[in-house]
């Protein structure tokens, strides 16, 4: 007997996509994450532009990780142009990334992922019982937005970070305000970690995983690097990103897919914790040591707890980042040393490793290649959703329970397909 079961408007993930589970009795024939959103061809759009114009277009890819895109573009373009940015520039960029991390992780953990774990259909429904937690998340998000605004010039699509430097550096007063506020919010972030550590993480999706993240600069925990750490112990230059991502096209999706050594892999906060967790310090390190266990290596749902710990780390590091920036005089904007060259920028967006590769010829963009975290995660999302469907159906779980299990896996990756509605489709044949 065949039947089809639809759930419309799967909210709380980014973008226009859907999930199709095809079942034959209790046997799962396939699980696909279908990306319906049309290709935006942005890599073609920027061909022939100057690097400065490219920088104004590229971050429009996303309104949440806009600074990650800008930072990745800056790193790629500056490498291609032979620019070494001044230390204050690098530190201010780190500051803006800390802000974006707080902003994005607070949104995802509390307002997108948490309702599932607590049995609510949405954050709105949580308000009566968890009103203080929701408002705490909004305060954190507001603060993250503020850091982004101070450093980049605007909350969304700020254009203050430019090639070779910043249009204007944050003032001492602004930095002092961020430093004080970050310290005030640390206890809130600790409570968030405790809340996420107290949740029950279903085991349906568990299977050995491969994790990738940048190797933070100066071998510290961080959101930018020149090489990629793989949880199998290997390290690869980010210039060789194509060997890691091996992009391919599939028929059911407008987003390309990635495989490493013919297998799916995961990027994101969980991957950063697996690869760089031992580099954490402060209370974030204490929390990591207390809560990290082998299940993190197999269960994508732990990405939520990883994001909470990372948000704490970001808040703890904002004061010292502010101090470091404030202690330096504003440098001149670094200028290109060549007009033809290539370079790859790799940064850690909140949802995972983001690559921007550029080839510049006579001062104009000749090739642009962007590989987003979600494109890298899609195959692993499908793999873990299939496991979830198989195990839940084998246990006789109802369709609504299976759908929720699948949605929790998809949401755990904090996917950013970009804008609009979603659809989960459970097909029984």
């Amino acid at each position: 007997m065949s039947r089809e079961l639809n759930v419309e408007a799967l909210a709380r993930v980014e973008g226009d996509g859907g999930i199709t589970v095809t079942l034959d009795g209790k046997k799962v024939k396939s699980v696909t994450l279908d990306v319906h959103e049309g290709p935006r061809l942005i890599e073609q759009l920027v061909r022939g532009m100057t690097p400065a114009d490219d920088l104004n277009v590229i971050p429009r890819i996303c309104a949440i990780c806009t600074l990650s895109h800008r930072y990745a573009a800056l790193r790629g373009l500056e490498k291609a142009l032979g620019i070494t940015p001044p230390e204050k520039t690098q530190l201010t960029r780190e500051l803006m990334m800390l802000g974006e991390n707080v902003e994005s992780n607070s949104l995802h953990t509390f307002l997108l992922a948490l309702p599932d774990f607590l049995g609510y259909p949405s954050a709105v429904a949580m308000l009566n019982d968890y009103g203080d937690d929701v408002k705490r998340a909004l305060r954190l998000k507001k603060f993250g937005n503020h850091v982004m605004e101070v450093t980049s010039g605007r909350i969304v699509h700020g254009e203050n970070p430019i090639i070779g430097g910043f249009g204007k550096y944050p003032s001492r007063k602004q930095l002092d305000e961020i430093r004080v506020k970050a310290q005030e919010l640390v206890p809130d972030a600790v409570r968030d970690v405790e809340l996420f550590a107290s949740l029950e993480y279903p085991a349906y999706s568990e299977a050995p995983m491969v994790f990738m993240s940048v190797n933070g600069l100066k071998k510290k925990y961080g959101f930018a690097g020149d090489s990629i750490l793989i949880s199998n112990g290997k390290e690869v230059s980010c210039e060789d990103y194509k060997k890691l991502t091996n992009e391919r096209v599939v028929s059911h999706s407008f987003a390309k897919r990635s495989l490493y050594a013919d297998k799916p892999f995961t990027v994101g906060a969980n991957a950063r914790m697996v690869n760089m967790g031992k580099r954490l310090d402060g209370q974030a390190a204490d929390m990591f040591k207390e809560h990290f266990n082998d299940r993190w290596l197999t269960n994508p749902l732990y990405n939520n707890l990883a994001q909470a710990i990372e948000m704490l780390w970001s808040l703890e590091h904002l004061p010292e980042a502010c101090e470091a920036v404030a202690a330096m005089d504003d440098p001149k904007i670094a200028q290109p040393t060549r007009l033809t060259g290539s370079g790859t920028g790799a940064v850690e967006a909140p949802r995972g490793t983001l690559y921007h590769h550029y080839e510049i010829k006579d001062g104009l963009i000749d090739v642009a290649d962007i590989i987003t975290p979600t494109a890298q995660n899609l195959d692993d999302i499908e793999r873990h959703m299939k496991l979830t469907a198989e195990k839940m159906l084998a246990e006789g779980k109802s369709d609504p329970e299976v759908r929720l299990g699948l949605e929790m896996v998809a949401r755990a990756y904090d996917p950013c397909i970009s804008c609009a509605t979603h659809l989960v489709r459970l097909k029984r044949v």
Partner: protein, 170 residues
Amino acid sequence: MHKLRDAPGETEAGLRAELESVAGQGRVYVLGLGYLDKADDGAGVLVAHALKKLFPSYSYSEHDGVEGTVLDISEKKEDATVFFVDAADLHAPPGTIRVVRREEIDDREITTHRVAVALMAAILERAGKGCAVICIQPETIEFRAQTSVPVKEAVGKLTAALSQVMKVRD
């Protein structure tokens, strides 16, 4: 699709009367939503920017941080109503303005690019504040296109009506 009232938005006076009936006697805040790079999608932001010149402490846009603004208003000890202004597909002629009251705001969270309006409305409601969404029907949301003529007119009409409502409470 939200259930919509048949708002008397055909004239500025009618629109103003509708807004007055929602706002009650308390302070009025305007929060404009949208994306200026996508033509008419930025209508709400245009309204907020125009009102900001007249009421800088009471008019905000997406660029000011939506969640933070709502959080701040919710914690103020005053009687207040927040009007969110946004472009929305009303299946109506371009430039049509409709007021969607709090009880008609769908609780589903459709967008994640920022926190859903439904959540912000619920937070305001818990804090004893009123709110409504003023929707403007776009003609085009094409990237980098100009704001259409009917939406420009709607922005002007709504700005005038809101400024009258805000003025008597300033």
